[in-house]
Symmetry: C2
Subunit: 191 residues, 2 copies
């Protein structure tokens, strides 16, 4: 997992994997028929922490709080899994063939998240908790674009090159009309 994640598929040789695992190369080929098969297994293992359960922990909150919580979870997730996300994004962009099953899993994850948000925003709009300028699906598309943009900003320049909290405050302002409060982030002009 470590080798594939930091060096990629083609730059990692089976000999290296064997050495890093302190086993013989032949053993790996006994457990996995081909290098590709090992790689797929690695992909799935790396993907495991991506499945989180949101429903159970958010039952008691109102819609606005749940939306905020979902956004926070996204950002927390980005912060905690930057390394492997980077790997996955590069992999998905680069090697459609090798990423086959991966694409579906990620897409499923993404659509689940999106559906959750659409539902929440729809309900929030009905109850007058947030602005009604746009249909929920459009609002969510917009939000997710921003979140994804923050993600890749984070991937390229790291924690201190992009102001996650500041941007999230602006998202809240956009959604709920909050006063632009300054949260824990100090909002320095990003370099």
């Amino acid at each position: 997992m470590r080798l594939f994640a930091v060096r990629g598929f083609h730059e990692t040789s089976m000999a290296e994997v064997a050495r890093a695992a302190s086993v013989s190369k032949a053993l790996i080929f006994w457990h996995f028929k081909t290098k590709e098969e090992l790689f797929m297994a690695v992909l799935n293992r790396l993907l495991e922490p991506y499945f989180i359960d949101f429903a159970e922990e958010a039952g008691a909150l109102d819609e606005q709080a749940q939306i905020v919580r979902l956004i926070d979870l996204y950002m927390q997730f980005v912060r905690e899994n930057g390394g492997s996300i980077r790997f996955f994004v590069a992999q998905l962009l680069h090697d459609e063939k090798l990423s086959d099953g991966l694409t579906n899993q990620v897409l499923q994850l993404y659509q689940g998240y999106r559906a959750l948000l659409v539902d929440l925003i729809g309900r929030a709009q009905e109850r007058g908790l947030c602005k009604r300028d746009f249909p929920p699906a459009d609002a969510v598309s917009f939000m997710l674009s921003t979140l994804n943009g923050l993600l890749i900003g984070f991937l390229f320049s790291g924690e201190n090159g992009v102001n996650l909290d500041g941007a999230i405050a602006m998202l809240r302002h956009w959604l709920f009309g909050d006063a632009p409060q300054n949260g824990p982030g100090e909002c320095p002009p990003s370099p």
Copy 2:
């Protein structure tokens, strides 16, 4: 260029390049000392269309129109260069070492674009053309996040998986308080 762009550095062999170019492998090594050197040259060639001149064509417009134009240019650029952008993003995320000079050029491009926007929004704010809720730099960070998010949405699901025009209308609404006009895009709920 074609081979490296669609298959990447490690999956492209010099023999393939030679065959595709209908020359002998040795000739390539006469023109380029190493495979890496050829790759760098390819990177630079692919990067050429990325340099556009904005200043000259926007002199007569007011700030708001210039901002809108800049955003349109971004999206037009994304639409026209999706293939190579995909390649570059994957390359940058994956192979920090090989991307060395590339990183700087892209960063420079990006910072230039950002600076242009910050300047424009600052001036637009002074003249009351757009909302003043946030300092220009923060507004631009937010905008760029959204644009980048649209970019990667486009990279992953193509033109009809993401609604570029709809999202841009929402950006305009956010910036200028426009009525949410429906432009040429019909804003279908993205699948």
